[in-house]
């Protein structure tokens, strides 16, 4: 029944993995930008910003990404807004990634010792100046490992875009399995490709973390 050779399977999976990579990059870059804005809203003064950011984060972290994608694509379609799949996927993934990154980064900013805020304000710096010159440069350094670590989740999260028609790695795996009925070969490859994409990210996050710990040993 199956006209797939093992090479066909692997080739098709690898081709579809391009989507996985592309979607990951888009959501990570976009999510980083939105997440940054969200971070400022979250830790900023005033009432509206933090409240908005908190609700946003609760919403996007509290519902399955699958449903977010579904609603972004079909839900808007229901209101006559015809969003192309790539746009819906991009936007949903970006918003989802942003919620997590903002939360990760908030932890980093808040881990900067209170003394840094006090010292910089006693030198006459304003809020934005403190952020720009004192807090963020330090927070950024400790943020790198958990951020890279989270990128693994993003890579795996892109699998859910199949609900709106993307044939990325996971979906290709399902399609090929349903054509070949060889789940072990196919899912074995799928797992392997995911591992090859994710493991370097995990590893570099660990290495960065170790480096930072060494650099901060003397504090």
């Amino acid at each position: 029944m199956s006209d797939f050779t093992t090479w066909d399977i692997l080739r098709n999976l690898l081709l579809s993995a391009r989507w996985t990579v592309l979607l990951s990059i888009v959501s990570f870059v976009g999510g980083g930008l939105v997440g940054g804005a969200l971070l400022f809203a979250r830790i900023g003064k005033g009432r509206l910003g933090p409240a908005f950011a908190r609700t946003y984060i609760e919403l996007f972290q509290g519902t399955p990404l699958l449903m977010q994608l579904f609603l972004a694509f079909f839900g808007l379609g229901l209101f006559g807004i015809d969003v192309p799949a790539w746009l819906a996927a991009g936007v949903a993934l970006i918003l989802w990634t942003a919620a997590f990154l903002a939360e990760i980064w908030r932890g980093c900013v808040e881990s900067i010792a209170k003394g840094q805020w006090e010292a910089s304000s006693s030198l006459g710096m304003g809020y934005l100046q403190q952020m720009r010159w004192v807090i963020l440069p330090q927070a950024l350094r400790i943020a790198v490992p958990p951020t890279v670590g989270f990128s693994v989740q993003v890579v795996k999260g892109t699998a859910l875009t199949s609900i709106i028609g993307f044939v990325e790695l996971s979906k290709a795996g399902t399609m090929v399995t349903n054509a070949t009925f060889e789940p072990f070969t196919v899912y074995g490859f799928v797992a392997l490709i995911y591992f090859c994409l994710c493991w370097p990210l995990s590893k570099s996050s660990q290495i960065l973390e170790r480096k930072l710990n060494v650099a901060h040993r003397n504090h």
Partner: protein, 236 residues
Amino acid sequence: DALATIEAGKVIRIAVPQDFPPFGSVGADMAPKGYDVDVARLIADKLGVKLELVPVTSANRIPYLQTSKVDLVISSLGKNAEREKVIDFSTAYAPFFNGVFGPADAAVKEAKDLSGKTVGVTRGAVEDLELTKIAPADTTIKRYEDNNGTISAFLSGQVDLIATGNVVAAAILARNPPKKPEIKFLIKNSPCFIGLNKNEPALLAKVDAIIADAKKDGALDAISQKWLGAKLPADL
């Protein structure tokens, strides 16, 4: 009016399955193929418009239709009263030779013998609807995401029996597994229908006409022979 739009735009968008052989699956080039795909081609040809295939899953095929991202769903849809409230169905375009299959030593001859047994089925497929109707109350029905899940569950012994199309059963046999599925009994022949949005009488009439023609001129029979290995039943 969807038909007018299709004819004006010279393109029809049809949702087809990609994980439900023999109705729709992919070839080595990842292009969709199968009974439903051929029917989609047939309809596009008869309308004289370009065909745009949209691969779908059981979870998103109806939303695609409802948000007008496709004009038709040809995805081996079974019909029930609830579904008819939401979308319209054409006349039947495909038979569904499905039955309950199990290992030789399973003593099952009819629906009531399923009592106490565990049966695997693909969620939302025609056989799921039918089996749910006819199986005794104490039958455990396990509903998997796709055919592959159903087959894997059978081969790994997670279920005693499966309800599926005979072509799928043949696919299992072709792999020469330790556990060979034998037909136990046929589920009432439950045909498949093409789904389309409500309030599109022109399109519905056109699709029905095309199917009627295809039944007459043998085009549908050829598709049936090709993918199901059987003649189109006369009563369809």
